[in-house]
Structures are given as C-alpha cells and as structure tokens.
C-alpha cells in the first residue's frame, strides 16, 4: 500500500520546526527516523497533511556528558548510540538494550528521540529512560522545559510532548560506581517488540540494592514502574518482589501473548534481571579484590 498524499517541509532548526508546527496545526506530524511513522503511513493507518522533517537539524544530533548527565540529542541514530563510548561507560543500560532495538538497518535510521516520542509501550528505550529516571528535554513556543521520565508517559502513545512542541534531547543520569543495571526482554523473535521486558536500575549498598527502579515494557499502555516490587527488592526479597508484581502489573492480552503469560514472564524477568544486578555487584567486588 502507498501512503495517502501529504506535504513535506524540512525544518532547518528547532525554531523552524516549532514555527511549522504552529503554522500547520493538527495535520502536522514530526518526522524523525521514520521507522515507525513511515510504516504506518505506508499502511494508511495515519494520513497527516504535512510531515515536518527534523533530519536536517544537526544540532539535534550528538551524545555528550554534561553536568552528570548523558545527554543524547533527539535525532541521534540508534546505531550511533550503540557505538558510543560515552553511552557504553556512562549509560550501560542503554548500551545493553540497543542490540535489541529492531535490526541493523532500522538502527541506522531510527532515532532515540523518535522512539521516546512515539512511546511504544513495548519498546526498549522508553523503558530504559524510565528505569534510569532520566529527563526529556522539550522545546516549545515559550522555551525549553524538562520533564522527568516518571511524568512523561501519559497513556497509549501519549506523552508530555504537546502537539506544538518538539522533543529535543534525552538526559540520563550518568552511572556511578555504585550503579547497577539489568536488562532482559522476551520477544518471540530477535528484534521484535517484546512480549514482556524489563529495564532495571539500582544503587549497590554493600550487598544490597537500593533505589531500585523497575521499568517493564510490553505489559501495559506505557512502560510501567513496578513500585511495590521495587520496594520488596530493596528489602532484599526477590520472591516477595515477584509476588508484588500481581498488584503492580495488569498486562492486557495482545497478539503474541495473553496477559497471564506476560504476567508470568514478568516474574521470570524480575528474577533474572535481579540476578544480573547481583552478579554485577559480585563482579564489582571481585574487581576490587584483584
């Protein structure tokens, strides 16, 4: 199927993009990497009047370490994130998630900002943002604002980004020596959206995990924090955390798995991701001894 007709405008700057958004109102859609948007256009599932292309805005692309944050420009391609030394050292959770995002050709074109703005509830990167407690930088007519990940995801494909705003960057708190992370997902096939997945972070405090953040994906309308499980895990009781998932998560059925299967997998994810974090504590200790 071919897309319905639309107009096209290249934004030269963020201001230019904001101006075009205001000018065209509701019929306008921002085009980032296009790896989800163009597919939906090709299926005529959406038919915007105009696409405002962000790909020429060089300022939106790049990865830097700034004020204790890893700052990733919205138009930074997944492949750049995957290859970045800064990300590998300071946002290792994102580095661990990246090979699971689509496939090589998709990662060459898809962008982190596009993924966060589209906010597919089964996607890896929104969950990573949530697990890391990162912030989203959003530009609008009145300037730039920062929204914390916990306030960012509003509903199915709904975020804090307004219709007249542009997501410009993601800020992730840089990992410290005490940072722990875990990532695991269960897609039917490599590169697919997961039936259920978990991105987790914590702070190692001796042999225990503190400040646990568990961000599940593929189990709801948005990436979902499992707060009761977080508390249980911080108390050192993995099985209590697994039990707590019953009240934390209420996954709906989808094409690839029933809610019951997702719920079961969520427990498996928790055990395995906790083991990853524990293992990393041990290896950190081993490193200290060596």
């Amino acid at each position: 199927m071919k897309p319905a007709p639309f107009a096209y405008a290249k934004a030269r700057s963020v201001e230019d993009a904001l101006r075009l958004l205001r000018e065209h109102g509701e019929g306008a859609r921002l085009l980032a990497g296009g790896q989800s948007l163009i597919a939906t256009l090709n299926m005529r599932l959406s038919s915007p009047a105009i696409l405002i292309d962000l790909n020429e805005i060089a300022a939106l692309s790049g990865i830097a370490l700034r004020d204790g944050d890893v700052v990733i420009g919205a138009m930074t391609r997944h492949a750049e994130v995957q290859q970045s030394d800064i990300v590998a050292s300071h946002a290792p959770l994102v580095a661990a998630a990246m090979p699971h995002v689509g496939h090589a050709a998709i990662r060459n074109r898809g962008t982190i900002g596009g993924s966060i703005a589209f906010a597919d509830p089964a996607a890896e990167l929104p969950a990573c943002l949530l697990a890391l407690g990162g912030r989203v930088e959003i530009a609008g007519a009145t300037g730039t604002r920062m929204v914390a990940a916990d306030d960012y995801f509003r509903g199915l494909y709904e975020t804090a980004v307004g219709a007249d705003e542009v997501l410009t960057a993601i800020r992730l708190p840089a990992a410290t020596p005490a940072s722990r992370f875990g990532f695991l997902e269960f897609p039917r096939r490599h590169g697919d959206y997961a039936m259920a997945g978990l991105a987790a972070t914590a702070r190692a405090d001796g042999a225990s995990l503190k400040d646990v953040r568990l961000a599940y994906f593929g189990v709801g309308m948005t990436p979902v924090r499992a707060r009761k499980a977080e508390a249980a895990l911080a108390g050192g009781d993995v099985e209590a955390a697994v039990t707590a998932l019953v009240s934390d998560l209420d996954p709906p059925d989808d094409i690839q798995a029933s809610g019951a299967v997702k719920r079961h997998l969520a427990g498996v994810l928790l055990r395995r991701v906790t083991a990853q974090m524990d293992a990393r504590i041990e290896s950190a200790h081993d490193g200290g001894k060596a």
């Binding site: 897309p3 007709p5 299926m43 490599h190 094409i255 690839q256 299967v261 079961h264 498996v268």
Partner: protein, 798 residues
Amino acid sequence: MKIVADTPSPLTALDRPNSYIGRAVPRPNLGRLTQGRAQFVSDVTLPRMAHVAYLRSPHAHARIVAIGKSKAEHAKGVIAVVTGADLAKVITPWVGVLSHLKGIKSAPQHAIAVERACWAGEAVCAVVARTRAEAEDACELIDVAYEELPAVTDPETALDPQTPVIHPELGDNLTFERTLDAGEVDKALASSDAVIETTFLFGRHTGVCNEPRAVVADWNAGEERLTVYHGTQAPHMMMNLFAKHLDLEEHQVRVVTRDVGGSFGIKVHTYADEMATVALSKLLRRPVKFVADRIESFVSDIHARDHRVHAKIGVKKDGTITAFVIDDLTGIGPYSVYPRTSGIEANQVVNLTGGPYACPNYRARARVVFQNKNVMCQYRAVGHPIATAVTEGLVDLAANAIAMDPLDIRRKNLYPDDAYPATAASGLRFEKLSHHASLEKIADMMDYKALRAEQERLRKRGIYRGIGFASFIEVTNPSAAFYGVGGARISSQDGATVRLDATGAVFIHSGVTEQGQGAEAVLAQCVASAFGVPIERVRVVTGDTDNVPYGGGTWASRAAGIGGEAAWQAGKALRQNVLAAAASILQAQADALDIVGGIVVDKGTTRERITLDEVARICYFRPDTLPPGFQAELMVTRHYVPRAWPFAFTNGIQASHLEVDTETGFITLLRHWCVEDCGTVINPQLVDEQIRGGIVQGLGAALFEHCLYDERGQMLNGNMADYLVPMAVEMPDMEVGHVVSPTADSELGAKGAGEAGTAGAPACVMNAINDALRPLGAKPLTEMPFTPGRVLAALGRV
C-alpha cells in the same frame, strides 16, 4: 560455471562420459539474481500500462447493497472504476471441483464479488489508474453500502443445523467428505495393550512469498492476443484458464513467467484478483498491472493447514502398532479454490497418515467445510505436515506408553526396506522406500546415543533438551492421477525441446518452470550429460507458453523428476540425430561415434572426429554438401510422464534437537537433521538446499506461523510484524544426508525433494518438545504453533 562439490555416482544408464548428473552445478540464473538484473513480474512495465488496486470487503460476510463510484471516477489519475457486475460481462465465474473427489461441491466464484462478499479481503471493486498510489487514493472514495450477514467461522459448528448455510443452493456447508476403513480397526484396538487418543490442532498459515503475487496483463486489441506476465508455477494451466473464462482460444493467450520471487504452492492457483486484472486489460484494451501489497496478500493469498484431527493409535507391549484412526476437520473458506480444489489437502491427510508404517488397520474420516474466512488450498507439502505430525505424534505417544525408545518403535513398525513393492492401508502404492536405512543413517549422523546421554546429564542440572524424530513419505512426480483424471486441464506430462545452435551450443526449452529451486540448472545438467556438451554450452528457456513445450510447470515436486527426464530423453535423441549428421559428413557409422565435451569422437575414446560447430555449420549453411536424401534434424522434442506408478513416493526421516526454557516456555532449536531418499540425486547441492529451505518452512509452522482470526472472521495479524515468519536468529543449522533408491519408472531415476523438509519438520519439533518436557509431567503439546504461552500452559505455569 564451476562445479562446487562432486558426488561420484555409480549410475549405469546415466554413466555418460563427463556426466553432470550427481554434481553441484551452479544455477545459470544466479548471476542476474545476485546483481539486481533479474526480471520479476513486479519489475515489468509496458507502454500505456495502468495500475489496479482493489477495494476489499471489510466484512467476513456481507451483501453488497450499492457501490457508489462517482467520486472515485473523478479522482486524479483514475482511468476506470469497475464493479463485479461490470466485469462479469467480460469474464465468467468458475467452480473449483474435480470429479475424482467424489461429492465435492462449491459455488461459482467471480473475479470481483457480485452481490455478496464472502470473506474479509474479497475484492468488491477495482480502480484502474495511472499509478498504484492514485488507484489507492480513489479506492478510499468508493462508497459501498454493505448489509452485514452472519459469518460462519468455526469449522466445528459449520455443519450444525442452526448454522447459516453460506451458499444456500448447495444445501449445507460441507465441501467434501472422505471416509476410509481398512483392515479390522476395532479388533486391532481391542487387542492392543495401550490405546492412546488425542487431538492435534494445526494453525492456519500462509506462504508469505517474498515477492507478492503479481501479474501484468496486456490485451492487444490489434492482434486479439493476450499476453500475461505472471508470477505463476503453471503457465500452461493459466493460459487455459484465461482463455476459458475470457472467451478466447488458447492460442490467443501467451503466459510469460520470468523470475518469480518465491512460490511454494501459493502461486499455482487461480486468484480472483489476478483473473480480474486480466479481464480489466481486455475491458480497457491496455496493459494493467496488479501487484498484491503485503497487507492484501495476507487476506487473499491462499491459506493452508487449518486442521483439527482427533486421532487414536493402538500399540502392543512388544511395540507393534495395531491401528491408526483419524477424524480430520478443516475449514477452507467460502469457495473451493479453482482449479485444484480445496479438497486435496484433507484428501492427502487421509492418504498419508500412517504411511511409513506396515500397519493394515486404518480408519479415517475427513470433512472439509465452508466458512467465511480467506480461502485455503494447496501449499508446499500439501497435507504432509499434518499427516506426518499426527502419525509421528501418535507413534511417540505410543512409544512412551509402553516405555520404548522412539527409534526402536519405528524400527519395529516401519515398512522393512525389502518389503517393496508395497501397498499401504490407505491404498498408496510404494515402489521402493528406505525407511530403515534412513533411520540408521540419521542415528549415526546425530550420534543419537551421545545426545541421549547428554540429555540425561543436563536434566540433572535443570536443563531440558529434547530429541524428536519424524519418519515421513512424500508424494512426488505425480501422474495424471493427481488432477487430470478429475477433469482438470493440468498437464502431468512435460516436454523438452532441444536444439543444436549454429555454433554448437544447445538450447533446451522446457515446460517446467524455475521458481528458485534450480530447475534450470537441473535441465542443463540433464541435457549436457545426455547430449555431451560442456554445461556452459547449454542455454535453458522456460516460462513462455509461446516458446516451450506444453507442460505442467512446477508443483508437487515434479520439475526434476518429470521435466528432467524429458530433458534427458531429448538430449539423447538430439545426440542420435547429430551423430547421424556427423556420420553422414564423415562417412562413418553413427553408432561408432559419440559426443564428448562438445566434440564428436570415436565412441569409447577421446579421438576427435569433428566439432559440433562444424557439424552445425555444414547442416545449417552447407546442406548442399550432405549426401542426397539426408536431412539433418537438429531440433527434437521428447515428453515424459510417469506411467508405472501414479506417484513416485519418497521417504526420509528428520530429527530435531532443542532446548526448552521451562520458566519462559521459549524453545531454542539447537540442530536439525534430515535423511532423505529422492532417488537419483541430479544436483546434490540443490537437493540439500530444497531440504533445508523446506525444513525452515516447517519450523515456522511449528513455532511461529499462525493466521489468527476473531470469531467474526477478521484476520488479526495480517502484516509481517504480527504474522511471524522464521528469521535467521531463531533457525538452526541443518545437516542433510541421503539414501538413494532410484525409481525404475524413468531412466534418470530421480524423484522429487521439494516438500520433504516441510513435511517432517513440525512433527519432529513437536516430538522433541514433548521429549524435553516429559520428566516434568507436562501434558503433551499437540497444538501448533508451539508458542511460549502453550508451553507454559502445558507445564501448568500459566
């Protein structure tokens, strides 16, 4: 072309000097395919060519009350908006029945729905425009008033009296029913030490050819000729059908099939939208192109394999299988597909179940019912994966019931290798099979004992691996018994025309088609070997009804066994003719000469007498120098059809080794083996790759593929993100071995190999999963695909 692997062949009749039989000759078409220089139908453009898009019914069953097309007619780029009623003036409807499937019935199907749409996805109106995009734009402007009708979707209730009848004139929703009762089933079951009964469920799935269906129809009003560029497996069959339904003579129709982007049985049927495209070309007197997009492919390419089989097996403590009993039910959509019918798959299930085993007691019933879903019909390995999974699933359950090793129960019951010819309980006749040799070979290849030991060790560590087997038989080289006897104009014979060119090169024109399986390489090998030229000197022409002998095309694993034999015979005949010409030039005896490496030599030596280009030069340009009365015939045609056996059955066995993550239900395929006996192996590399590709198609069925429908007849996952095909990461490496039992029906002795992989793979994966989970007390899994959710359910974890 370089030979990449050689298998020395002990053949006798085929033991020609410099024979290419049994050698891995690369395919002549790979250069264009690897360099982006192929010509698929989707690549074809013609002057004045228009594009058609079809508006498809969103309802599974609905009366078409009115079609408002004026807005669409005035849309940019639109050439015509055509309804079913409009088109019915140009093309007649068809009914998919065959007389040898006793009692099969169906209703007339139109190229575009007239009055009523019977599945979600059936075309209800066509828009022809300058571009496909403009045609799609205009489709959105067509105003169709539907009156929704109750949809029949569940085969289990399709025959209930309270269920609406989809085609009232047929009386009920029963398309076809077959029953069979051989031996003494009840007595055999009564004498058994264990009787195991279960139900197997197979997910409806579809072919997902990488190149969707495509057709460019060009009605030339000036010469009253229709040329159809068609991605099909059966050009002559389609030529016949286009002529028949468009009121033309066959000679007015030419079907051209160049490169085809995957077929697998999907492209051997009559599709309403393709017939409509051809009719639109005639109606509009210009070329019209239709390429199904992926979304419409999912709701219009034939589906297959949606079967529910209640099944029973009896076994004695010594391992003797006493009886097989099956009751198969399948829903095939609202029409039996034309012209091969949608009764064949169930018929094959009845024919093939229990087929590898020397068990005389067999009872079967198969019922085929109408429903308001997309149509089902024959897809790679028609019926085989179902029959094999039912049979092999039962055999493993029986083995488990009497605590016997799965290979031992097979050793006990498979037809002995010296039992042939044999006739199965279902009536199938086997010329020569090799179940036991195949079984012993696979056990060696996989080191079965070591794998079992490893399995035991790993279980103690909580790692659950499974080993599963599936013995199978495969129908290949079909004679007229398949379709011809039922009245279908589908050729079972095939022809080859071979011509010596003026420079000593050889052309072969064949009625079989190249779908990527390598038919062109096999034809070249046969001709080069039989005639005696280097294979580089052979040019293969296929896929053009104006230019090749009448033939059946490619389906049911017939191209090498039937088309190859015709090519072999034609090559031999041309050799005789060329030697006669050479003899008359040389004043020698023809039978004292031979052709080796493109040179006429003294037989049994390499002593050159005359080159082929010199023979050709004299025959074509200086025939005046030949003896009076001698006429050189440098082009010959030979045909072949199997006569002694209705089908050349092949056999084999597959094994799967996999690991089940018992916490997540995920299955990791570790390795897969297949030993297959397709008779003479003409090209070992091509055979192995047919097997491997077929296996993965079967693995897709086992683990991933499923056309999901809701109760209202809407397909829920009709796109490639949601319908899961096998991709590289999840697929295992596969080892292929061979046992060779040539058929005596042909000189080559080659049988087919195209469906063996698909036939056996789902069954052995199922058995391997159940083998892995057995110590955990899981309920045996018998419903495909084996999703993590189903595995978890079997383990009682969800």
